[in-house]
């Protein structure tokens, strides 16, 4: 059996081994290498201090998934030289935690540190505890709730947002202690279903994207003043009052430029909004001036985008089954950094990890949620195939809670952590 000269290194000081080349069998798999490292660590520390740790290995920044020699052949790495292999603690598979049943399809999900907010096709949004206990039903929309978002939490009151196919977004105030919900503002102005909302990082504004091709920027600060709405003059004032939830609010700014429906919006920082649309473009907008800054052009309809401030990349899910990574700063506009291909249906939701700059999850119409690492672009790290129907939304909370909801009326939560010790 042929041997390979390898040298192991790691970032993690806890698992450092001596920097000497080893000769190992070329056909070694991940498990074999992991055993070697564990042996070395045992030899270095005493046997008591060291417990067995599963490792994952990267050769030139790509995860090792087959035998070492096959991987090097595929990557075109010479087997003559000493191979530098980085090892990191293996990410444990996401552990399923809860399955929260809904009455209807789940269109959207958003989490904050304690609560889970889901929007559903039964025209309501719901607030759940992490254990799957329904806390509050947010009813008030006259049509399907398409997107939900937490705005902020101020002691016992939380602000949350729901947007709906009834062309409005409603800003709600929820008192956690008394469990009272109050519609503070009804944001009117869109002429199509409001498919996506996003709250700015400083929590004072939010942006909505709608089927009517417009993006609108609104204030997210609840006030007691009602904005004037001119367009409904011909309707009796009284009737309008009874229908409406909360005070009417009009947009601060309207950003128009998309030529098709806007499917997803997000804030990349306090002054910049990013929107994905059915017209095959992702556009970046300056919120201060209302101008479009740049356009990233794809070839298919974009369903969703997500931005990671850690690696400053945009991830997009589109109707051609690929998750693509973009650099929004690039000036030439249409540079795809990476395509992650494994889904067999439209990618309906993507979400970057808030803590790890290399990981993201994606949900697709093929009923599977996939966990990706950008260092292993050929295949996802894990597939979560719990859903029985289309996956419509995913979310990733900072502490490693993954959520996915779909057309099977179920919201699945998973506990995922980068390492056993961190969990």
């Amino acid at each position: 059996m042929s041997q390979l000269q390898v040298r192991f290194f790691t970032e993690n000081a806890k698992y450092k081994v001596d920097d000497v080349p080893f000769s190992i069998p070329a056909a070694s798999q991940v498990q074999d290498l992991s055993n070697i490292i564990n042996k070395l660590l045992e030899a270095k520390h005493s046997k008591i201090c060291h417990s067995n740790v599963e490792f994952d290995f990267l050769v030139r920044g790509n995860f090792l998934r087959t035998s070492l020699v096959n991987h090097m052949e595929a990557e075109g790495i010479s087997t003559e030289e000493v191979v530098e292999i980085e090892y990191v603690q293996r990410f444990m598979a996401p552990q399923p935690e809860e399955c929260i049943m809904h009455d209807d399809w789940i269109s959207s999900v958003d989490t904050e540190s304690e609560w889970i907010l889901t929007g559903s096709y039964d025209k309501t949004a719901r607030i759940w505890t992490q254990e799957g206990k329904a806390v509050m039903t947010v009813a008030g929309h006259t049509d399907v709730v398409k997107d939900v978002a937490w705005v902020k939490r101020d002691g016992v009151t939380s602000l949350l947002l729901t947007s709906s196919m009834d062309q409005t977004a409603i800003l709600w105030e929820w008192n956690v202690e008394r469990n009272k919900l109050k519609a503070r503002h009804c944001c009117r102005g869109h002429a199509g279903s409001v498919d996506s909302i996003a709250v700015s990082p400083n929590q004072t504004k939010f942006c909505s994207g709608s089927w009517d091709k417009m993006l609108k920027i609104w204030s997210a600060v609840p006030t007691d003043k009602e904005d004037e709405l001119e367009e409904q003059r011909d309707r009796p004032r009284k009737k309008q009052k009874t229908e409406q939830m909360g005070l009417t609010r009009t947009p601060i700014m309207t950003l128009s430029g998309h030529i098709e429906a806007v499917s997803s919006v997000l804030w990349s920082d306090n002054e910049e909004v990013c929107s994905a649309s059915w017209d095959h473009t992702i556009r970046l907008w300056d919120v201060e001036t209302g101008n479009m800054k740049s356009t990233l052009t794809g070839s298919k309809v974009f369903n969703c985008i997500s931005y990671s401030p850690l690696c400053r990349r945009l991830a997009s899910g589109s109707t051609d089954r690929h998750v693509r990574l973009w650099d929004p700063r690039s000036k030439d506009g249409s540079l795809v950094l990476l395509s992650l291909t494994s889904h067999t249906g439209w990618v309906t939701a993507v979400r970057w990890s808030p803590s790890n700059e290399q990981q993201l999850i994606s949900g697709s119409l093929d009923c599977v949620v996939k966990l990706w690492d950008t260092r292993s672009c050929k295949a996802p790290l894990y597939d979560m195939a719990a859903h029985e129907d289309k996956v419509l939304c995913v979310d990733w909370r900072e502490d490693g809670l993954l959520l996915s909801g779909g057309a099977d009326n179920k919201l699945y939560t998973y506990r995922y952590s980068a390492s056993t010790s961190a969990a």
Binding site: W211, D212, S263, K390, A407
Partner: protein, 633 residues
């Protein structure tokens, strides 16, 4: 014999006096006209006898004269000479090839004077002359004179003969690069096949023919035989006989060499692929739908018709389960289900984005349905528009009945009900969204009705029944109206009220029709599984007929923006074609089939019943007999 006798002295001549003729050896005919025949030794004329012997004398002489046989006539002297016995015997001897002289000994011993034997002594013992071995002075003198003359240049060497070019390079002017060049045309003589194992004197047993094979071989024609000989086995090379077919084989070989065509035939080598017109590759014609993305499930019976909202957000479908369903395109969610009173034959979304109405036809009614799926302002405006109708002062006779629905129907979204006298099989909107045409299954002249929604008025545009109308359509831009009957499509000008064109579809039964958004091209699907593309500017015959489907076509559709059209068929497949129409009148439309989309399962021998394109994306929807609607992207 006579000459011999005449020129020789014979003893008989001496007996009768010497009458020898002296004329010599000349032809006696020369003396025919003279009385004499020559001259004797004294120079006197020898006269011919007075009377020649005639035949009778000759005969008598022959009969009577015993010496007749030894009598010869001497022409020189005209006398008869009786030969003596010596003369007779001489004649006999000569006749038998013997020497004339009796005494001549032909076998006398041979005296060898000069024999071939080399003798040691010379015949003469004379010594050699001195001059025979001394160089000749005369010759030396002659040679020195010639040498001197050559040196002085008096004698010149013989000039070389100026020879004409007796031969020349026949192929000197030949172009070495010519296709028909000599060397290129060189065909080497065919080689003989090398002998194999069966030619061996002791072939392996598998090469020997069995009895049946041998019989078969013998019964075959020599031309058909695989082997020209029978393999034979001999114990040793010594016992191999001479090859009996050697001459035959050599002859055949000569024939082969001689008859072998040593000329290369310039065959026109055309790749059949090259004759096919160049069509662009489908992957260069992106985008077009390639894969099934969503399935809209919910209907319980076959879905006959689908229609997309102008915005592309909603999909309306009508089914045989007597419901109309409205779907969200992006997720496949059924947003609304509307019960109607019959199997829905046709459903069309109003193409005007400022109006939110769906025309649904079932049984004898056409219902205008407000699905409340659009901008709030739009659907409220639509309701107001319909409510704002004022009754005209004078009632006009109408072929149909316009009704405002009852409250429970109104809650379902019904806004207007148009009741026809017969069952309706198709409805279609004008692109402005005010006019609506419906097709009735009727054999009378009232097959097509055009309704105006804003005035709630209907009219029957055709006075005569010109065949069973299958479907109708409005021209997207101009005031033209397309009426497809079983075999042809008639194009009417609605303003001038006249027939403009009659497109002959070349098929048995048209099932569906779609008009290109530019308005100059029409496609027709037919039940005999053809799709005909008409270019109205070119001719009334189909510009192209596509026979890609295996079964009857049920629905055809054009995309609004992309150069795409699709056809759905009973074989369960949807075929998407690239159909580029150029503004340049000189360029004919480019039609390339790009994708066969499969997904529907066959139910009751029915596959795809309707196809529709998304208004903005290159997506195609198909509804099938398996109660599903599928989206291909």
């Amino acid at each position: 014999m006579v000459k011999f006798l005449g020129s020789s002295r014979t003893p008989a001549a001496f007996l009768h006096g010497d009458i020898r003729n002296t004329v010599g050896n000349v032809p006696m005919e020369w003396y025919q006209d003279y009385p004499h025949i020559g001259y004797d030794l004294e120079g006197k004329k020898i006269f011919k006898p007075i009377r020649n012997k005639d035949e009778l004398d000759e005969f008598l002489d022959k009969m009577e004269n015993p010496d007749y046989w030894r009598t010869v006539h001497d022409k020189m002297t005209s006398t008869d000479i009786r030969l003596t016995d010596e003369q007779i015997s001489l004649v006999h001897r000569l006749q038998s090839g013997q020497f004339g002289d009796v005494n001549f000994n032909e076998y006398e011993p041979y005296i060898d004077f000069f024999s071939g034997e080399t003798m040691i002594h010379p015949v003469t013992n004379r010594p050699q002359d001195k001059r025979s071995f001394i160089p000749s002075l005369i010759e030396k003198e002659k040679v020195s004179k010639m040498v001197h003359a050559i040196k002085m240049g008096w004698i010149k060497p013989r000039k070389p003969k100026e020879s004409d070019l007796q031969f020349y390079d026949l192929w000197a002017k030949e172009d070495p690069n010519a296709i028909l060049g000599r060397h290129k045309m060189h065909v080497p003589a065919p080689k003989m096949k090398l002998p194999g194992h069966e030619e061996s004197y002791n072939p392996p047993p598998e090469y020997l023919l069995t009895e049946e094979e041998r019989l078969a071989w013998e019964q075959q024609d020599p031309e058909d035989r695989k082997l020209s000989f029978l393999p034979q086995k001999f114990s040793c090379l010594r016992s191999v006989p001479a090859y009996s077919r050697f001459i035959h084989e050599r002859f055949e070989r000569c024939l082969d060499l001689y008859l072998c065509p040593r000329q290369r035939k310039m065959r026109v080598n055309v790749d059949p692929e090259d004759l096919i017109p160049k069509l662009p590759k489908p992957r260069d014609l992106q985008p077009f739908p390639t894969i099934q993305s969503l399935i809209y499930r919910g209907h319980s019976s076959l879905v006959r018709c689908i229609s997309l909202s102008p915005s592309g957000q909603w999909l309306a479908s009508g089914s045989d389960d007597c419901t109309v369903r409205l779907w969200e395109v992006s997720t496949g969610r059924c947003m609304k289900t509307v019960e109607v009173g019959g199997a829905v034959r046709s459903i069309v979304w109003n193409p005007n984005p400022a109006i939110c109405l769906v025309a649904v036809c079932f049984n004898e009614t056409v219902v205008l349905l407000n699905p409340y799926l659009a901008d709030k302002l739009v659907y409220n405006a639509t309701d107001q528009l319909i409510a704002s109708y004022v009754e005209p002062e004078e009632e006009r006779p109408q072929p149909v009945q316009w009704q405002v629905p009852e409250i429970e129907d109104s809650d379902k979204g019904f806004r207007l009900i148009i009741t026809h006298p017969k069952s309706v099989k198709q409805v279609t909107w004008h692109s402005k969204g005010d006019y609506l045409a419906s097709v009735l299954s009727d054999n009378s002249n009232m097959q097509v009705l055009i309704h105006q929604v804003s005035k709630r008025r209907s009219q029957n545009p055709f006075r005569k029944n010109k065949g069973l109308v299958q479907c109708v359509s409005f021209h997207p831009i101009r005031p033209y109206f397309f009426v497809a009957s079983q075999r042809c499509v008639r194009v009417y000008n609605l303003i001038k009220q006249e027939l403009m064109k009659k497109l002959m579809a070349n098929c048995k039964w048209i099932s569906s029709m779609a008009i290109h958004p530019g308005g100059d091209n029409v496609i027709c699907g037919s039940y005999d599984s053809r799709l005909s593309w008409f270019d109205l500017d070119l001719s009334t015959k189909p510009y192209k007929v596509l026979r890609h489907h295996k079964k009857a076509l049920r629905g055809v559709a054009f995309h609004k923006n992309y150069p795409l059209f699709a056809s759905g068929s009973d074989d369960g497949s949807v075929i998407v074609c690239h159909g580029m129409v150029y503004n340049d009148l000189l360029q004919n439309p480019l039609i390339v089939p790009v994708k066969v989309l499969k997904g529907h399962t066959l139910t009751h021998n029915l596959g795809v019943l309707d196809v529709a394109f998304h208004p903005t994306q290159p997506w195609v929807f198909s509804s099938g007999a398996d109660a599903t609607i599928r989206l291909f992207t």
